[in-house]
């Protein structure tokens, strides 16, 4: 079923140029919203009572960008420090990583920095790292300043964006920014092969985004891991 290379069929039947496949891993302290970001990106949903992740979960999502089909293979890892020893298994060979923290909790930002360091030391040297300050919808409880994170990201050559899995803000953007960055790094030199600064890359992505959304192929994956949907209101 899964083809690593070759031409993909567009819904309208016309064949299309290029397929890229990216392995992407999400890292970050527990409860910062890693699973929620993935769920938002892959299924467009948000579950308030998202179950905690044990070990790791794997999901995929395919998007079409211009004439390229991009398939994300996403490893969503467990955040608790104890599961740390499993992490290399997932980031090994990953082309990209999203390191997530919760903007309402300073400790999670510290943890994010540790992850970045570890990735820079141990992961593939070409890995693209994006820093996501999640729970932006709770900005009134903010404990990590935007500028602080931006400065840190600039110093370390990371993509940076604040997201909200709850409101969907910037969620697609961060994934697509990664694609662009990967395009720059490894894949075929596109029309914009001159290297842009990270920041402008992000801005550019927003333009691409609307196109991307139209052409999005959503895989039929159901996320309700427990059979019963979370419900507080049993039918009468």
């Amino acid at each position: 079923m899964s083809t690593r290379t070759g031409a993909a069929q567009r819904p309208n039947g016309s064949t299309q140029g290029k397929i890229c496949q990216f392995k992407l891993v999400l890292l970050g302290e527990s409860a910062v919203g890693k699973s929620s970001l993935v769920l938002r990106f892959v299924k467009g949903q948000f579950h308030e009572y998202q179950e905690s992740t044990i070990g790791a979960a794997f999901l995929t999502q395919t998007v079409c960008l211009d004439d390229t089909t991009v398939k994300f293979e996403i490893w969503d890892t467990a955040g608790q420090e104890r599961y740390h020893s499993l992490a290399p298994m997932y980031y090994r060979g990953a082309q990209a990583a999203i390191v997530v923290y919760d903007i309402t909790n300073q400790d999670t930002f510290g943890r994010a920095k540790t992850w970045v360091k570890e990735l820079q030391r141990q992961a593939s040297p070409t890995i693209v790292i994006a820093l996501a300050g999640n729970k932006q919808d709770l900005a009134n409880k903010r404990m990590v300043e935007y500028e602080e994170a931006q400065t840190y990201a600039d110093e370390n050559g990371l993509l940076f964006i604040e997201t909200s899995a709850k409101t969907a803000m910037n969620v697609n953007d961060i994934f697509l920014a990664i694609v662009d960055e990967l395009d720059e790094n490894v894949e075929v030199p596109g029309p914009n092969s001159n290297k842009l600064s990270k920041f402008s890359l992000l801005n550019k992505t927003v333009g691409v985004l609307s196109k991307a959304l139209f052409a999005k192929i959503v895989f039929p994956i159901s996320i309700n891991r427990k059979d019963s949907i979370i419900s507080c209101d049993p039918s009468l």
Binding site: Q50, G55, K141, S222
Partner: protein
């Protein structure tokens, strides 16, 4: 005759219903999560009421949630309200004393539990043949002192003046408000008058407040107001005194229930009651109203339908509740207050006829099953047991007669626990009646003794570094369940987890421990200590060392064993998964670390664990296998990505099928196949013929399991036809000495170049059709012990394993299972 037992005056119940206050749209708590609906908070708070058992209180039976925050409270309801007999002139002073004494007993029971009634009135005191029970006494408590509902909880006439003075929004948790109410009720009873019954609301309140101005006795003043001064004068002094001290304006001077019960007025009642108290242990009841209610529901009783029938639940077209004007900011104008948000005092008694009818033919003896010894004569006289064998579990659990028999029997056995434990196990092997699951599980886990004080002594409150993790995990743990998502549920889970961490200093909190605790809490919601005791007994038995700070060796070993078990039973699948690099590390950690409690919804876990608790710590490997078996076709046709996606989002797994499959493989797998170094030796004794000393490295490399000499010996002796032993040493050695019934395929005679079973020559047919025999490869140091079994596995031969320790270990077995073929040559 049977109906006589069921049709007991106490076995009646009814329901009331009200709406919890609705949160405004879009409200969020400080953690960004939506606020817990008030009806769920109520649901959690009300649970403890179900555990209160007293002859003076109607038992709470159930809380049901409906749409739009509707809450239904089901409770025992027997007798008629005291208000019906207040004006009855025949009521003697002694009878009145008897009534008040019982009211005080009921209140005392509540007050010792820090529950304030706050709602006492002659309407919710029920009398039946001189027995008095309070009804609906928990409303104030379960609504968190009225905060969770939009109507006031107050009985105008009986409310103490301080309630009015402080404003009814104020939380009165001082039990003295109830004492005032008792005073009023007693006054009504002795004067045979319902006070101010014709007055309007406002007037009544004014009357109560006017009592504050009274310079003389409050009671006297009330009597004069009602033109019963003569009756007042006739009231015995000791009763008068009681009324006076209860109706004391000064809260602090009012006596407590305990003090009142000590008064000389009640001497007669006290001596009457003493005889009851003396028994050493609680008398055994063959069933209680809880069971009765459960059977009623199974027999088709539906609280909701009854409330509808009686008009307590009515749906009105939504258009009627539309506001007339909606402001852009979201404000609503011109919306009538929905009368349903007010308190509806009606009580609906539940009809029991259909249950009586259903149970009509149950013989009397069925209520008293004999459990230990039954003589032939008796068993011949007895009707045959109710037969439900062969029915699916789901049906059995909903069959009223079957559950009747099971509950009666198991209640009896549980009463005799721990001495009846073996009988409980035997019954649990058939099935576990859901109503008694919590207790049965505790019995299976050997929970006994003073677990309560044990739990009480553990520190559950000090701040620890683990707190953050526990706090972020709890609101994500089985939150579709009402109990676990309630505020009380969160607090209880937190305490249990903290207690566990505190108590097990050699272990640490791993994410997933929350899910593991959830089933125990769910089943023992009113007995936190027992939930903790169950968890504490469960982990050493089934998850020994899994929660070590560094548990990697333990988990790795478990996962390696899992791979081997798959290979043992399903080589085709194992080979496929191996080829696509689909390792259990990638998907099975949450399965085993939480024994599937993080993977399945609660109702499935319960059925799964019913069996887990009867097995040993290897059983969950078999559950894992059964899950793969159910998805087998899809897995075989899928590549890595599709396979892993299947498990990120575990599709429909039929639990009954899983239970069936795993029980089957569990029984047919020699125990040493799943034996592990890290097993808890407390539950698993070992000797030199068992497997030990296998390094993790070896274990991970070997794709097939090892089998112990012990297992070989017992198989050879008891089930030789289920064995196919392949001796791969050279022919000379084989002929000199070998296991009875083994065949010889010298290692050196086989080419392993391709995976073709024909390569083994004359015996290939035998291995092609092993008919589910256990294929044991027997070698020694001189033969390569890995190539051959790996080859068999690759050729999809089932049940391949290797004798641990090699041939020589069998030499010292007595009596021997070896023979010599040398004379044949």
């Amino acid at each position: 005759m049977t109906i006589g037992l069921l049709n007991h005056p106490e076995m009646h119940f009814g329901a009331i219903t009200f709406f919890a206050k609705q949160h405004k749209e879009d409200m969020c708590g400080s953690n960004g999560l939506p606020l817990t609906p008030n009806s769920i908070i109520i649901y959690g708070r009300a649970q403890m009421l179900k555990a209160i058992k007293s002859p003076y209180l109607c038992q709470y039976l159930d809380i049901i949630r409906g749409k739009h925050e509707r809450t239904i409270v089901v409770s025992q309801y027997c007798g008629t309200p005291l208000s019906n007999i207040v004006e009855n002139q025949d009521q003697s002073i002694d009878e009145i004393k008897h009534i008040v004494y019982q009211i005080l007993q009921g209140l005392n029971e509540l007050h010792t539990r820090n529950i304030v009634h706050r709602n006492l009135s002659t309407e919710n005191i029920l009398c039946q043949d001189n027995n008095v029970k309070l009804f609906n006494y928990g409303l104030y408590h379960l609504t968190d002192n009225g905060k969770l509902v939009s109507f006031p909880i107050i009985q105008l006439l009986y409310a103490a003046p301080e309630i009015y003075l402080d404003g009814i929004q104020h939380n009165h948790t001082n039990p003295k408000v109830d004492i005032w109410a008792v005073g009023m009720i007693l006054a009504e009873l002795v004067l045979h008058k319902r006070f101010w019954s014709t007055l309007k609301l406002g007037h009544r309140i004014r009357k109560v407040l006017s009592l504050l101005q009274s310079n003389t006795s409050v009671f006297e003043r009330i009597a004069r107001e009602h033109n019963c001064y003569e009756d007042y004068m006739k009231v015995p002094e000791d009763i008068k005194e009681i009324i006076e001290i209860c109706l004391n304006i000064n809260v602090d001077q009012r006596p407590t229930c305990g003090e009142l019960l000590q008064k000389g007025v009640f001497n007669q009642q006290k001596t009457d009651k003493i005889s009851e108290k003396k028994s050493l242990c609680e008398p055994f009841e063959i069933f209680t109203i809880h069971e009765f209610y459960h059977w009623w529901q199974l027999a088709g009783g539906d609280i909701f339908q009854e409330l509808k029938k009686q008009g307590l639940i009515r749906s009105s077209p939504p258009i009627l509740s539309l506001p007339q004007l909606v402001l852009i900011e979201g404000g609503l104008l011109g919306q009538d207050r929905n009368p349903a948000t007010l308190f509806d005092p009606r009580i609906v008694e539940m009809p029991l006829a259909s249950l009586y009818q259903r149970f009509e033919n149950i013989p009397f003896t069925a209520f008293y099953p004999l459990i230990q010894i039954k003589s032939d004569i008796i068993s011949r006289l007895e009707p045959p047991p109710y037969d439900a064998t062969g029915l699916p579990l789901i049906i059995k659990e909903r069959d009223p007669e079957y559950q009747f028999h099971r509950v009666i029997l198991l209640r009896r056995l549980l009463h005799g626990y721990p001495f009846t434990r073996e009988l409980i196990v035997r019954e649990a092997e058939k099935d576990i009646p859901p109503l008694l699951r919590g207790e049965i599980w505790a019995a299976l886990l050997h929970v006994k003794g003073d677990y309560k004080s044990h739990y009480m002594k553990i520190d559950k409150y000090s701040i620890t570094p683990t707190d953050r993790q526990i706090e972020v995990d709890i609101p994500r743990c089985h939150q579709y369940n009402e109990l676990l998502s309630s505020t009380d549920g969160h607090q209880k889970l937190k305490r249990i987890l903290k207690a566990w961490v505190c108590k097990n200093s050699n272990y640490v909190y791993w994410q997933g421990l929350d899910s593991l605790t959830a089933p125990f809490l769910y089943l023992n919601f009113n007995d936190e200590a027992k939930a903790f005791a169950c968890l504490s007994a469960f982990i050493p038995k089934y998850l020994h060392k899994f929660f070590l700070k560094d548990n990697s060796a333990v988990i790795e070993e478990y996962l390696a064993k899992f791979s081997q078990l798959i290979a043992f039973h399903d080589p085709v699948l194992a080979n496929h998964l191996y080829e696509i690099n689909f390792y259990p590390q990638l998907f099975a950690i949450p399965w085993f670390l939480t024994l599937f409690s993080h993977v399945f919804p609660l109702y499935k876990i319960l059925h799964l664990w019913d069996k887990v608790l009867l097995g040993n710590s290897s059983y969950s490997l078999h559950i894992g296998l059964s899950v793969l078996t159910q998805l087998r076709d899809r897995l075989l046709n899928a590549g890595f990505n599709e396979c892993i996606l299947l498990f990120s989002d575990l599709p429909e797994v039929d639990i009954e099928k899983s239970v069936y499959l795993s029980t089957d493989t569990f029984k047919t797998t020699p125990t040493s196949i799943t034996a592990r170094e890290h097993e808890n030796c407390e539950f698993q004794e070992r000797d030199k013929y068992d497997i030990s000393g296998v390094t993790l490295e070896d274990l991970k490399r070997e794709r097939y399991p090892r089998i112990s000499a012990n297992d070989i010996v017992s198989l050879v002796r008891s089930n030789p036809e289920k064995m196919c032993m392949v001796d791969i040493r050279n022919m000379t050695q084989y002929n000199r000495c070998s296991v009875i019934g083994s065949i010889n395929i010298p290692f050196s005679s086989v080419s392993f170049s391709d995976n073709n079973i024909e390569n083994i020559g004359q015996h290939s047919q035998l291995l092609k059709e092993t008919n589910n025999k256990v294929v044991v490869v027997i070698g020694d140091e001189e033969t390569d012990m890995e190539l051959f079994p790996t080859f068999l596995l690759k050729c999809n031969v089932k049940k391949v394993c290797v004798l641990h320790g090699g041939f020589n270990i069998l030499l010292s077995v007595t009596p021997t299972i070896l023979v010599s073929h040398s004379h044949n040559i």
